[in-house]
Symmetry: D2
Subunit: 301 residues, 4 copies
Amino acid sequence: MNIGMIGLGRMGANMAQRLLRGGHQIVGFDPQAAARKALEDKGAGSAPSLADLVAALPAPRTLWLMVPAGAPTDASLDTLLPLLGEGDTVIDGGNSFYKDTLRRAQRFGERGIAYIDCGTSGGIWGLDEGYSLMIGGDAAAVERLRPVFETLAPASDQGWSRVGPVGAGHFTKMVHNGIEYGLMQAYAEGFSILKHKTEFELDLHRIAEVWRHGSVVRSWLLDLTADALKKNPEMAGIAPYVPDSGEGRWTVDEAIELNVPTPVIAQSLIERLRSRDKESFADKLLSSMRNEFGGHPIARE
Amino acid sequence: MNIGMIGLGRMGANMAQRLLRGGHQIVGFDPQAAARKALEDKGAGSAPSLADLVAALPAPRTLWLMVPAGAPTDASLDTLLPLLGEGDTVIDGGNSFYKDTLRRAQRFGERGIAYIDCGTSGGIWGLDEGYSLMIGGDAAAVERLRPVFETLAPASDQGWSRVGPVGAGHFTKMVHNGIEYGLMQAYAEGFSILKHKTEFELDLHRIAEVWRHGSVVRSWLLDLTADALKKNPEMAGIAPYVPDSGEGRWTVDEAIELNVPTPVIAQSLIERLRSRDKESFADKLLSSMRNEFGGHPIARE
Amino acid sequence: MNIGMIGLGRMGANMAQRLLRGGHQIVGFDPQAAARKALEDKGAGSAPSLADLVAALPAPRTLWLMVPAGAPTDASLDTLLPLLGEGDTVIDGGNSFYKDTLRRAQRFGERGIAYIDCGTSGGIWGLDEGYSLMIGGDAAAVERLRPVFETLAPASDQGWSRVGPVGAGHFTKMVHNGIEYGLMQAYAEGFSILKHKTEFELDLHRIAEVWRHGSVVRSWLLDLTADALKKNPEMAGIAPYVPDSGEGRWTVDEAIELNVPTPVIAQSLIERLRSRDKESFADKLLSSMRNEFGGHPIARE
Amino acid sequence: MNIGMIGLGRMGANMAQRLLRGGHQIVGFDPQAAARKALEDKGAGSAPSLADLVAALPAPRTLWLMVPAGAPTDASLDTLLPLLGEGDTVIDGGNSFYKDTLRRAQRFGERGIAYIDCGTSGGIWGLDEGYSLMIGGDAAAVERLRPVFETLAPASDQGWSRVGPVGAGHFTKMVHNGIEYGLMQAYAEGFSILKHKTEFELDLHRIAEVWRHGSVVRSWLLDLTADALKKNPEMAGIAPYVPDSGEGRWTVDEAIELNVPTPVIAQSLIERLRSRDKESFADKLLSSMRNEFGGHPIARE
């Protein structure tokens, strides 16, 4: 199929490349000329603006956005809307909040433009291993794009599915990331216990390798953890500082809104906040309280 | 090798069978005659008592225990101790608390008997897929048993390792199970969110299948979860009641003793306790407090 | 001062009464005639509509809202806005979300109407003990109402303060309630431990009384808990079901937005959600997973 | 009454002084001569050894231990045991683990010596405000000491009680401290949110003062927090480092043993561990995992 790929960062460039490998025709757009050039070198076309991109595609047009969630996505969509028409399709493959997706789909739908949300998992490994795709939107519109999804997914019949109406894709991806936070935190805590049991002189990489084969905790994240422990067993030079990119927050907010208790996902998010709160006011106040009631000494900075 | 397998329950019987398939000579003991008979039918010998079992093995003898942790393990070991002698080896393949293992190893070591702890993961799937084995003990004693471990593990060179001195195997397995609790809870929370987002009418089994291929959260536990959701998508007839078998508790106690913060593993354990606390006194008291200060109505039973 | 009190439920009626006792002139409005009549019986005037209420007050008018947060508050404010004019003052004494307050204050401010938010704590005890008042708004407007605050608070110079610009009052009250959740949960857990230590046959009410005098955990909530335990030591007939009224959710959302880790407040909220999730899908799935990997039996409903 | 006070640290010296003020005869022992001298200056006798202390008391003797829990308490008791006889009474007023108390009481009971455990709360304020006393032991033995408890408690009939058989006092005190952790953490989190809402420029001390009067969260810990915030509103120079002295750990262990879910108390303890884990291996590993799967940059030290 002919696809216009918008956003040629780490994820977008890889996905365009996987589509090229699968025999699709790609025209790419990115504000960075270097990113466009890199894609051209792989056999795609490119366009210096969204208007040029739209002009370069045969109708009905298919545009795939891989743009940071929030304002950047809105900006691209605002530009696209007047350029597109009835029968065209926009797919948001980024990590948009599903409520934004519902709002945007409404706007495009009013003009006869199909709007599809595609939660995309797989990270930098997706180029070679395929992406897991959670797709929301009109069933016929999704079906029309079957060749694209079959190429992007790990196998033509595995790793992708329409999971519901528009919004359902990003909702499912959001929850996926919430789970991901919990899994990561569980491994991190476990390896931290092993690390601190110094008298056993445990080799964490070796243990990860043992667990990778036959154990209940084997997983792809464990494969990656084993790799990280092999390369840097002591985590030397790495700051104990863990960013988060939003989906975990949304998951917790949504769970609360739905009255679903999610203690572990919530706590996993909070641990990331905690990792960045190096001058915890709460801890300082706790230390002061202990001094107030019990005369316990206060550790000084 | 010649192995005396003590305890022919779900795990012990399967492990004996996998060893038989691998060409080892097995004599099994279990207090249940039916369990002994079942093993005999698969080509093993059996013994009606531990004394007979020991007598049936050529010296130096190798005895593998797959017995419930705690008192049953101690009872078996108490019986075995006077029957064994210098050069024999005892392997505890159950889920013993590592401090019990240290105590027991000391006792056997004083009589020249090698004591090895082998944390065993893989559940009922280990028979066909192999077990992940975390082994503690004297390096030479472990090396002598290499053929046994190579047979039990998924591949001769994968899924097993001596991870440290005696105790280290059970310690590592304990942490493995703590991680397992966290992973399970993360998935359970995520699917619960999906379940409660009724307007999207999400097909949880289908989503699990999508995630199994290419996503960051793919894992063996997810494979099993997909299977469970396929068989019973609504979890019909299943009580919201989750037992725990001890290793999670030990993990939390150990983490606290080591000053390692493990919020997610601790919370995963607490959620299991919570699932069984159907008449929560805490919740009743909270309801009463709300009534006391704010006049809020109390829900009645 | 002359005050128009809007909303004569549990909180509004008590506050009107405390103001009457303090020598203020009160005209009350409530859609329920019985509520208006009850207030009249205590010496206040009443009005059958908001328009009548506004007409009954001397300019510049002071209107105090004690109306449920959200839509009911917006409805009252929509009616009031065209009836009021430059120099009038509206105080929202309810549990509004502070972002709603910011929006509403903007709207009233554009018409020269002072808008004050007053977080109010004290529950049904405030009538006699006085209310704790966290006030946001223009300093001069707050100062003009000093006689009102001095009457409502426990003492003329204690228990009330302007804490910042408009919104700051409700923000502070929101956090107050978040803390309240945490305190309540801590007591509830502690008493639950005592309750389950059956061999000591602990008398929970007696222990609460001991703690009320001289202990580090003495508090007003403990006073109330002691009272609840005295009246119903076994919490007989009370369902383990704990509602929440919104502020806890906002607190958690805000904390996440501000990158402040609040594990205990978040968990306290989650425990309330959990108390109402009697058919936990998560727990059922956990039980299924255990069966899948380990063959553990599933408890049936 | 005649009391031998063993351990003249912060708590023991204050309690001895309060007993002196109440008209009791005190002989004190402490290995530090300066501590003995300080007590003598207040009107007590002192003894340079436990043997001298026992010799200085009229039979039946009453000995009150205020010694650090664990080995120091065992050391004192080991020395005392052969010095005492039938009819004497030992009270452990420290923070002993209740299982140690059960063991010790057994040993003393076998020799006809009454053993009483007295959980003591009140910190450095107890001297003037009185102590909250949770007492376990034989009812007649406790009754004999009524004059002592009436003096130590805030009022002769308030703030002290026999709560059950020996062990019950320390058990109750342990749970008290678990609750204390939860309360402290709830306040600390709440004030931390206020602190980070910079646009409102909230005065935390002032808010604490407002809350102290009439609010639902008023408590003695809040009084102390207000005091701490008054003295040092920015917590300047205080390290975000919070020790724990053991009772929180025991509470969590006990709750797990009793199958009582205590998420908030457990998390409060974990937060203290976290405050001391400045080079969190878990966080470093999380950062590495994010890099592994998503190519996210790693913050460097």
